[in-house]
Amino acid sequence: MKHNFRNWPVLLVLFIFSLPLLIMLTFLVVDTFTTKVPGTLVPNAFTLNHFRFLWTDLDDGSWGIYGVTLNTFIFAASTAAIVTAISVMAGYALSRLSFPARGFFLGSLIVLHAFPTVTLIIAIFLILQILGLYNTLIGVIIVKTALELPFGIWVMKGFYDTVPWEIEMAGVQDGASRFTVWWKLILPQVQPGLMAILIFSFLSGWSEFVLPMVLNPGTEAQVLSTYLATLLLDTNANSDFNLISAVGLFYALPVVIIYLIFQNKLMNIYGGGTKG
């Protein structure tokens, strides 16, 4: 059905709409490796100087890029792991197991999305503080997990819904307990969903800004988003756009790579998640 039409008008329109993004991204890359005369767009020299943050400390108040990157990675990876683990269990319960008030839980899942968690942050702060987790990476990880959870559970439930009941029935019939059935038989079937959630929450954690900013202002556990924001919002004389771009590129590179590797799995996420 594709060949029966001319494609170029569509291509053209798409291209025009995509132009801002393309320009932004192109110049992001170009700017980081070149210098140019102010007020022009064409670079005049190649340089690696904008990447100096990789081998020198930019300021004295923070850890240096590698520590920050490590923090970011720990933050994103733990969030992803926890979100996935919890979603995988809760999604199964909601999709396949009968228990009291199941409908209520499923409904609340959707309503949860309407809670402006970020504006409830004072209360969250208070809870973290009671738990002794304020200004720690663990605290932000848990809050981020909570934020991602409704979405994760919802998607996982969608994936479980597509697993044929017969497989589960066969497992039970073969004498396995429901837990074994889940662990050995069903979980392998929803692996694409699991991967999708894992990647998605990793990306989301990697990018998160407001939570670390508010809940984790200390130096020990700074993450890349706040690091970049600091460079950006600072009224510094040497707030040098190319440097910011370079840090930005350094920051974005992992997500882009992850995206490119796993893009099919990501496209999948909504397929499983939005049935009905």
Partner: protein, 425 residues
């Protein structure tokens, strides 16, 4: 004994690094002092000077204090003393320091006063500054001023002869004669800051009633102050969408003569140099903020940052922090900051430090401005007051409200948030 002291400094640029490096130097000295007294003291200073902006810094300190994990020393606006002391986040330095002894007895009393609240010395001034008005000499010449006339401007401003209305006229002239682009006749600070209280004062507004210690909303002064900016926008000398301009861009423009007049802070001196203007003295003239009308006065606001010691379960830590702050206030150490960041000194003896004394800017700015400088009041609700003031300005400036309407809204807002703590005139 091992102690870790954390220092957070808000609103800092790279050139402000001595705000925490001074503490590190002080730690060294204190360790040595302790060693002599036979105590083994090991101080690790952890510092953080990187915050997105003042908002984020204050939020971080507040929440951390609330969580009991506040940094031991904070460098912040003196305005925070009131709410933070009320909330019990900070302890007075006078609990640990002898104010009659060196180097504290050398600090300018008015600066010490600014770091005090309710007669309690909560903090120590960390630096001093003032917020002058700037003229681009070249532009002024092009619209008809002679060199002498320009040189005489600061005096005329001081005497009240040259007012904000004259600024408007000259800026308009500059725009009309196309010496500067539209919107660049008068080029104010692009975000909220103490500077705007200066203009309120220029029209006779008072921030606080000395007698009762209550904040004051002078509706007439406020409206005229708003009107001035509305007029500036109407006359095309100021951009309607000026607020929110990127700071980097702003500095670059004013430093290189794109604007005819503007206002800023004493630390701009260094910043202009970084932006490529090495020749401040020949390109820029500075003065007090002119008066707005007959009742008003030419003025400038100094907005020193202060060292504050936060509440800690361990008194020893508080004492060590206080002592560090004290040592960091020694003229020699403080001068490092003052000169590097183009702020003004806090102590009299700094004029005897060669580094400081040889600096023309520090010298002249101190002479020309500091005598007329007042500070914003330390009041628990001053933050809300200043928020409301700026919100009203924003509304009038961008034309979403007329100045009169904006004042109405400000009044409602202030009444509601300040209650009894407000006097409306």
């Amino acid at each position: 004994k091992d102690v870790t002291i954390t220092v957070w400094a808000g609103g800092s640029n790279d050139s402000d690094a001595y705000r925490w490096e001074a503490i590190e130097m002080a730690a060294d000295i204190l360790e040595r002092e302790a060693a002599i007294e036979g105590e083994e003291l090991n101080i690790t200073v952890e510092s953080k000077g990187q915050f997105g902006n003042w908002q984020e810094f204050k939020q971080a300190v507040t929440l951390a204090a609330e969580a009991g994990t506040a940094p031991n020393i904070v460098v912040t606006s003196h305005l925070d003393i009131a709410p933070w002391s009320e909330a019990g986040y900070i302890v007075p330095v006078e609990e640990y320091l002898d104010l009659d002894a060196w180097p504290l007895n050398d600090i300018y009393p008015n600066l010490l006063e600014i770091a005090a609240f309710d007669d309690v010395q909560w903090g120590l001034p960390q630096d001093a500054e003032s917020r002058p008005f700037f003229f681009w000499k070249e532009t002024m010449k092009k619209i008809g001023y002679s060199d002498e006339e320009i040189a005489a401007l600061p005096a005329k401003v001081e005497s009240g002869e040259y007012t904000l209305q004259n600024i408007l006229e000259d800026a308009k002239k500059a725009v009309d004669m196309e010496v500067v682009e539209k919107g660049y006749g008068f080029y104010p600070r692009p975000s909220n800051g103490p500077d705007y209280a200066q203009f309120y004062q220029s029209f006779g507004g008072e921030l606080i009633d000395e007698e009762t210690g209550k904040l004051v909303l002078d509706k007439k002064a406020m409206e005229e102050f708003y009107q001035f900016f509305a007029d500036a926008v109407a006359a095309d000398v100021t951009r309607k969408n000026h607020l929110g301009t990127d700071w980097g861009q702003w500095y670059k423009e004013v430093a290189n003569g794109k604007a005819a007049t503007w206002h800023g802070g004493t630390w701009h001196f260094g910043r202009y140099a970084q932006e490529g203007n090495q020749d401040f003295w020949n390109t820029i003239e500075f003065s007090l903020i002119p008066a707005g009308n007959e009742i008003g006065r030419p003025n400038t606001i100094t907005h020193p940052l202060v060292y504050l010691i936060t509440d800690n379960t361990n008194d020893d830590v508080e004492e060590i922090s206080a002592n560090l702050v004290k040592i960091a206030s020694e003229p020699r150490i403080n001068s490092l900051h003052a000169i590097q960041s183009n702020h003004l000194g806090i102590a009299k003896q700094q004029s005897n430090i060669e580094l400081y004394a040889n600096n023309r800017w520090a010298d002249e700015a101190t002479k020309r401005l500091l005598g007329h400088a007042n500070a914003q009041p330390n009041h628990v609700n001053y933050g809300a007051y200043s928020e409301a003031l700026f919100k009203g300005l924003e509304a009038a400036w961008t034309g979403t409200k007329s100045p009169a309407e904006a004042v109405e809204e400000v009044e409602v807002q202030m009444k509601a948030t300040l209650g009894d703590e407000l006097i409306i005139r």
